[in-house]
């Protein structure tokens, strides 16, 4: 039985400009992700987790290894894997609504009328109906990220890839968007890979956390968060605080140990 998304023996090496020095970014690495699962990639900054996610998105090519989605081999970017970036990627020449509608532009599975419906649906889901006709330089950073998320969802990808989407936001906005994303996730059940270096964000949102080593990336530990903290409790803010804190310090210890490795290497 094959998995929904299968990463098999992915490896990646960067070469310096003169082609003499190599830096291994990702060691041969395998990972399976099930349909509807929210997987958080956690690890020291610069460890290669973003590179791995970009490889899944087809935005970078692996040196070796394969990626299969429902048993189909993937190569290059397409609409099956939607990406939300850390920097604001909404288009300034389009309104909020225009940006979200852009997500449906290249879909051939729905009619123009349905595209309007899908646009309105996601506009409402991210709570921006009131701002539909605003250009994106007139709205806040948090709203821009909501536009980017809605635009990607409107394109109906099989896998949603999020590269520290809330990294540039202030703490209050980030928390608000984290809970909004949990709500969206409950209704949409989108298979998601979410890259972050924020441990609490990872615990809050994850079904499963994958912790990476310092560069070159390999998987240090996988944690089934649902088994420790039930998703319902996390969503309603009634999670067992003692368990939350002990999970948090367990993860932080692993990451600290990885940082220590990095420092030794320097």
């Amino acid at each position: 039985m094959s998995h929904f998304l299968e990463l098999s023996d992915i490896s990646k090496t960067y070469w310096s400009a003169d082609g003499k020095t190599e830096t291994k970014v990702v060691l041969p690495l395998s990972l399976n992700i099930e349909e509807g699962e929210m997987v958080m990639f956690l690890g020291p900054s610069g460890c290669g987790k973003t590179t791995l996610m970009r490889i899944v998105g087809g935005l970078e090519t692996q040196d070796a290894g394969t990626i299969d989605l429902h048993g189909q081999r993937l190569a290059g970017p397409d609409r099956r894997r939607g990406m939300v970036f850390q920097s604001y990627s909404s288009f300034p020449w389009l309104t909020v609504r225009g940006n979200i509608k852009f997500g449906t532009r290249y879909r051939k599975d729905i009619s123009p009328a349905e595209k309007e419906e899908v646009t309105d649906h996601y506009l409402e889901m991210v709570g921006l109906t009131r701002y539909a006709d605003f250009y994106t330089n007139r709205i806040s950073g948090g709203m821009r990220q909501r536009v980017a998320i809605a635009r990607t969802l409107a394109s109906n990808p099989d896998v949603l890839l999020m590269d520290e989407p809330f990294g540039a936001l202030d703490a209050q906005t980030r928390e608000h968007l984290q809970f909004q994303l949990m709500d969206i996730n409950r209704t949409e059940k989108k298979t998601t890979i979410f890259v972050t270096h924020d441990v609490e964000e990872a615990i809050l949102l994850a079904n499963r956390i994958v912790i990476f080593s310092s560069r070159p990336a390999r998987i240090v530990k996988e944690i089934d968060v649902d088994a420790i903290l039930p998703p319902e409790a996390r969503r309603s803010g009634e999670a067992d605080m003692a368990r939350f804190m002990s999970l948090r310090s367990e993860i932080l210890d692993i990451i600290r140990a990885e940082y220590a490795h990095t420092l030794e290497a320097v």
């Binding site: 998105g57 087809g58 935005l59 970017p77 397409d78 609409r79 894997r81 939607g82 990406m83 970036f85 920097s87 604001y88 990627s89 288009f91 300034p92 020449w93 852009f102 997500g103 532009r105 290249y106 879909r107 250009y135 330089n137 007139r138 980017a148 635009r151 990607t152 394109s155 990808p157 890839l161």
Partner: protein, 286 residues
Amino acid sequence: MTGGGARTSGRPASKSLARKKVTPLLSHLLSFRETLPRRTELALGSFGFAVFLLAWHMTAVSGVIRPEFLPTPWSVAQAFVRLFTERDFASDIVISVGRVWFAFLLSVVVAIPLGLMMSTYRAVGALLEPFIDFVRYLPVPALVPLLVIWFGVGEASKIAVLWMGTFFQLILLISEDTKRVPTEFVESGHTLGASNGQIMRHIIIPAALPNMVDNLRITLGWCWTYLIVAEIVAANSGIGHVIWSLRRFVKTPEVMAGIIAIGIIGLLTDQAFRYAHRRLFSYQQR
């Protein structure tokens, strides 16, 4: 309005309110990196012009400089009218404007597609950049004799001079504008299912367009410089030709009027471009 304490010292209730009372006009005009109302901007621009005209007039009537060298603004204005009534200056203007726009559009239609290709396909960039950089540094006036040998003294050589002067600058500017489109925009396009052609048409061009239009405006200004060079060297019509032939009779007011005509045309074109830019790209206004 507020208590007197706000003006003198201590803790003003509102900083801007306090400043307004002390020097209302100056603090309004010198607000750091703020915008001004359109009417104020217009008034300031006119004021700058008026100061220039007044200084010119005072110098001219003081007699320090002989009137053959520096006529008064008024006699230049009269000469300006004479240019239209006594010789057919309007048709010279039409000819010059026509040359500028023909050559300008000719370099735009070639430079935009090539500039887009250069920034999109590294191979095209690597192929063309060194050559363009070489030509770009050749002074256009130095090319005029060669272009006259090739194209004769007719319209073709003038168009060639203007085209040489603008095309090689414009193509690099267009290429730079498209290079500056954020990678995330292009990558978003890929993951939303757009083809390369669709990304070019639906993302890269709309994203780069405001800067492109700005660069077209600037390049059109350079076109005028080269036009006058071309018309002075080899022409029997056009604004440059008129200025150059009047010089022989030391008709300084007419020469200055001709120069001013170029300035006015430039100003009008520039304002038209700016207006179009504001209308087309209203989303950029904050």
